[in-house]
């Protein structure tokens, strides 16, 4: 009897609403960086996911059930990401996970997904290790580009430039190392005449880039590959520009890691090193298809932002893949949805995309272009902006 009382007491203490309705919503956990430096991508990605869910639910949801998004802040740390993901699975009883941002969070949450047999779609982490052969399991999928695709796309473009002395500057952690290695290897392969004359590795979150900038200029590269992201890229540019860095390399820079996103150019405004090449996941001015134009208009309305974020599309597409897979599977069971995702092709706002069967990786390319000033906007844009299809060099 005492046992029973203790049980009831404990259950009462931790009381949770155990609603058991027939048509309860499909719950999707969304662990994402919502505070700290990574939040500048995480927060808009969540917006994109929210917009998709709102639109889908307005149309009646999927399999007649609504989708409920349950976001959690991972604070940019892998152990927090693991904690909130398990909490989402065990407490909120989410059916799926979509989210994570950094190359530390992605693989860490992948382990949780595997152990709990919950489908996990990573819309932002790029590290190759997430879907590497020894780490791959039936429940992990990626709708972001990976470091191989990004590095090689950049190499394809730089190979056409009339330069041979190449330098690199990248943050010293998994993403920076992986993408730089992919770039260098692919470039050497398609253009053997290039020479890597300098490689700088500032630590992630470096505050003072001047020593690295000086060291790099001393080696006199003709072109530079950068994978500094977000605020780090902004800080780097603010310090490099007055030192004459961009004049020295004649603006021959390929800045990946979405340095060409409207958010980045908007934040820097007149300080942006106009003339460099950069990439982005999305651009509101990229009026490629009616579907994309329509998406942009909706997003602008949803976020009340005249120039809506380029990161929203990652949250949007991640959720879209999940919903379409549920529809295709006709079920919310992990194993069925996981199988439905293999080889699934959907129409995203950025065009058709497919999750490959062999490595659970979507053929998500990025937009590349040269940054120019445009009188229509108070900040630089990519022009002409080109979607680089990665399917040729994904392996």
């Amino acid at each position: 009897m005492t046992m029973r009382m203790v049980t009831m007491l404990l259950a009462g203490l931790l009381a949770l609403p155990l609603a058991a309705e027939a048509q309860k919503p499909i719950k999707v956990g969304f662990p994402m960086i919502l505070s700290g430096p990574g939040a500048l991508f995480g927060a808009p990605a969540l917006k994109g996911a929210e917009m998709y869910v709102e639109e889908l639910n307005a149309k009646g949801g999927v399999l007649g059930r609504k989708i409920e998004l349950v976001p959690r802040d991972t604070k940019g740390s892998a152990d927090e990401a693991v904690r909130v993901s398990r909490e989402l699975i065990l407490k909120e009883n989410v059916d799926f996970l979509v989210g994570t941002l950094t190359s530390a969070e992605g693989p860490a949450v992948s382990v949780v997904a595997k152990e709990n047999k919950v489908v996990f779609i990573a819309p932002i982490p790029k590290t190759d290790q997430l879907t590497a052969k020894d780490k791959l399991h039936p429940y992990v999928f990626r709708t972001a580009a990976n470091t191989t695709m990004e590095g090689r796309s950049a190499a394809e473009i730089v190979a056409k430039w009339p330069v041979t002395r190449i330098g690199t500057i990248s943050p010293d952690y998994a993403y920076g190392q992986d993408v730089t290695r992919s770039f260098v290897e692919h470039l050497k392969k398609i253009k053997p005449s290039v020479q890597i004359v300098d490689q700088q590795w500032p630590k992630l979150g470096e505050a003072d880039y001047t020593p690295f900038i000086n060291a790099q200029m001393a080696k006199k590269p003709e072109a530079v590959f950068s994978s500094l992201w977000g605020g780090h890229f902004v800080t780097f540019v603010k310090q490099a520009k007055p030192l004459g860095y961009f004049d020295a390399i004649k603006y021959n820079m390929m800045a990946v890691a979405e340095a060409g996103s409207p958010e980045s150019t908007k934040a820097m405004g007149a300080d942006y090193p106009v003339g460099i090449w950069a990439n982005t996941y999305d651009a509101f001015y990229w009026a490629e298809t009616p579907a994309h134009r329509d998406y942009t208009a909706r997003l602008a309305k949803f976020t009340k932002d005249e120039y809506p974020s380029s990161w929203a599309i990652q949250g949007y597409t991640g959720m879209q893949f999940l919903a379409e897979a549920i529809k295709k599977a006709g079920s919310t069971e992990s194993d069925k949805v996981s199988r439905a995702l293999l080889g699934l092709t959907i129409d995203t706002p950025a065009g058709k995309q497919t999750i490959r069967e062999k490595d659970h990786q979507a053929d998500r390319g990025q937009l590349y272009g040269k940054t120019v000033k445009d009188p229509k906007y108070p900040f630089p844009i990519l022009k002409p902006v080109e979607y680089v299809d990665p399917t040729k060099f994904m392996d």
Binding site: G36, P37, K203, A215, G230, G231, H232, P242, A267, M268
Partner: protein, 294 residues
């Protein structure tokens, strides 16, 4: 052997970084010297100075002289905030254990980081260099931006100004007296309450000023508060907690170690500054130029 102009460029960049750090850390050191409190929230004041400058530039525009008004306004705003915190809350903890004071300042860190997020969101912000200081000039084969030169001159000027105030004015004498022996201070007829308030506001002002002045060379992002506070701690510990010139020296050393450290041991440059901090504490806990606490 790297060529001399390169070495010059590296040491100059280390020097510039040091001058920023000095500006920020001197406020921390001043508060510690008088109030005997390590203020974790100093990094938050620095962050608010940066966001404040950004906001004022948005309102005032980027015309001539506007940046300077924005900087001054942001620093004053932070000083007022610091004053409010001291008057309304912090003063009640003076007699309490150090742990309570430390944790109170940490509570401020948590609160202010979310407050900044509520006001300014999570997108990175940026402020352009003020007109007139956008260019650069060449010195011994090295490009030196005018803005960096300005910082290189401003920081020592502020240091000298402080030194003058501390040495030559009545308030300065009280501050020094408080740093040495605060028990007798009240007996001397000093209004200790007002002194503490003034020092706290001045320290916050310096933190806010540092934050505002750093905006032309750094992006403003969430999380810049906790990044900075650790660096400022290292600087004041190396130089000596509460020692004014010690902070200056600490900043100089820190700047050079980082600037040259990345050339030789790039991967362990963050390790080396913490090791330096530990070494100073082990050999000379009161820092290079500080005096042992009584």
């Amino acid at each position: 052997m790297p060529d001399p102009s390169f070495i010059f460029a590296q040491s100059l960049s280390g020097l510039t970084a040091a001058m920023y750090l000095f500006l920020i850390a001197s406020g921390l050191s001043l508060i510690f010297g008088v109030l005997r409190v390590l203020n974790f929230a100093h990094g938050s004041f620095y962050m608010l100075g940066a966001y404040g400058a950004y906001q004022l530039v948005q309102w005032l525009g980027t015309g001539h002289g506007r940046f300077w008004w924005a900087t001054l306004g942001a620093a004053l705003g932070v000083a007022i905030l610091g004053g409010l915190v001291e008057r309304l809350l912090f003063r009640y903890l003076y007699g309490k254990e150090e742990l309570y004071q430390l944790l109170f300042t940490y509570a401020l860190v948590l609160i202010l980081s979310d407050v900044a997020k509520i006001f300014w969101g999570t997108q990175q912000k940026s402020v352009s260099r003020p007109p007139g200081l956008t260019g650069s000039f060449s010195l011994f084969g090295t490009t030196v931006p005018y803005y960096n030169l300005f910082i290189l001159l401003l920081s020592p000027a502020i240091a000298l100004g402080f030194w003058f105030v501390l040495r030559r004015t009545r308030a300065g004498r009280f501050i020094r007296a408080a740093a040495l022996d605060r028990e007798t201070l009240g007996a001397l007829g000093v209004n200790v309450d007002r002194l503490y308030l003034g020092v706290f506001m001045l320290g916050s002002f310096l933190g806010g000023l540092g934050g505002a002045l750093v905006t032309p060379v750094k992006s403003i992002v969430p999380g810049m508060d906790t990044e900075m506070i650790v660096e400022a701690f290292i600087v004041v510990v190396i130089g000596g907690l509460g020692s004014f010139w010690g902070t200056f020296l600490g900043a100089l050393i820190y700047g050079q170690v980082l600037s040259f450290g990345i050339l030789f041991v790039p991967r362990f440059s963050i390790f080396s500054v913490f090791a330096l901090m530990a070494a100073v504490l082990i050999i000379r806990p009161w820092g290079l130029l500080g005096k042992p606490l009584k």
